[in-house]
Point group: C2
DNA sequence: CCGCCACTTTGCGCGAGCGCAAGTTTCCGG
DNA sequence: CCGGAAACTTGCGCTCGCGCAAAGTGGCGG
């Protein structure tokens, strides 16, 4: 196994505040792994053998119902931890993680979490802060699903993706990974048909520009209006 | 301030595994507080000065949208921690906590969390396990809201409340605190009208029995059927 | 370079559940 | 014991978004 360099993780949120020497120690028990686009990094219900930090790419976290319907729980961006079942006292993964593009991840054995978080308390603090934010996000989503129309929810979802992964282009801000109408539907509790209709309408109004697995937001401000008001702006 | 007895918290999940002497130390920095029915224990957006353990009663955790709509995030039962913003790196409460009945709580200053969780690692482990479960629950709810009809969601909500707080009576299992149609609506993303209609229909079918602020489940099994199948059983 | 498949678009009809409105019951405070 | 407000019930019409169906379109693999 090649020695991993501390520069890989220096500056990443989970390791914020650690010394170079400490980073090296943390890295010494990590493996680096690659996953091809659409490959599963871990599967729902499987034993949680590892936890991960995403070094490069994007990861889609998906829950599947007993009836086979899928819901996208969230997207993971570079520098985020994921699959941290161990830190939360679980022994199995509650969802499936799929590489949305070719990805590079670091993996630690779950069994190492207690030792690691004890030796480097900052890692624990940073991780639990992340968990707190995700709990927040999840509740926000419950509130949205309870109180908003589909149009508002889709607008909110796009705005969140733009904020999280937006890449400036000459046409507007583009979501930085391939995303289908079906994906957006699974994030918002709508059908791909309704999402397609909404995107078409917004394209008409020059708010977005979209194509096969691509979405570009041209006018974020007007999209915010869609997200906030019930009537048609 | 009266000295608090270790028997108050011995055996509660957050303090699982601690020695009597340790319990005493933990208690020494706690205050005991009472809240009358419908009183606010803390408010959304307010500075998170304390975190809490519920000794007696039930607490309703509510999020309010900018538009003034309310969503019930969860109910807290005896022995659960709540208001743990500090442990998740937040400085304000993300929701409002209301005593659903007269309540007794223990409160610790938020500033004490780092010290407390460092001195008694088990408290941290237990608390983060709870957080993990709540994150799970929140995601489960998102999935339900995305994939289920209102009838199924209401059935699921009732079953969860029965499991969490059910009290056996001669008529069936009763939800152990006053709960209105409006409350159930705010848990499920429905209107109180629809909830009322559902409860009436179920009363007709002798699945539940309900009155002013009361719900009794007479036939949990048939309610499970309602929760699981799309058509009318 | 071309064929195919995954992805997308669009039309049409319908039904779950909301919004509104009016009336009833229950409980609590005085 | 009584008055009023809070909680609950029920009816009716409408609309948002789904379900189904069918026809485009772009891009990748062979």
């Amino acid at each position: 196994m090649p020695k991993l360099d501390t520069s890989l993780i220096a500056g990443l949120p989970p390791f914020e505040g650690l010394q170079r020497e400490e980073l090296a120690q943390v890295l010494s028990s990590a493996r680096s792994l690659r996953f091809a686009r659409e490959a599963a990094i871990f599967e729902q219900e499987a034993e949680a053998h590892s936890f991960f930090v995403l070094l490069d790419g994007y990861v889609r976290v998906v829950r599947t119902t007993p009836e086979g319907e899928q819901v996208i729980v969230r997207y993971i961006s570079e520098g985020e931890v994921f699959g941290i079942a161990a830190a939360l006292g679980r022994t199995t993964y509650p969802a499936t993680a799929i590489a949305a593009v070719d990805c590079v991840v670091l993996a630690w054995p779950s069994a190492l979490w207690p030792e690691l978080s004890a030796r480097f308390p900052l890692i624990g603090v940073n991780t639990y802060k992340t968990v707190g934010n995700r709990l927040q996000d999840a509740h926000t989503r419950v509130v949205e699903m309870s109180t908003e129309q589909v149009e508002q929810r889709v607008a909110h979802a796009l705005l969140r993706l733009v904020r999280q992964t937006g890449r400036q282009t000459d046409e507007g801000i583009e979501i930085d990974f391939p995303i289908t109408r079906q994906d957006i539907a699974e994030m918002t509790g709508a059908t791909l048909h309704t999402v397609s209709r909404l995107l078409s309408a917004w394209e008409e109004q020059e708010i977005v520009r979209s194509g096969r697995k691509r979405v570009i937001v041209r006018d974020p401000h007007r999209l915010v209006l869609k997200a906030e008001s019930r009537e048609d702006g």
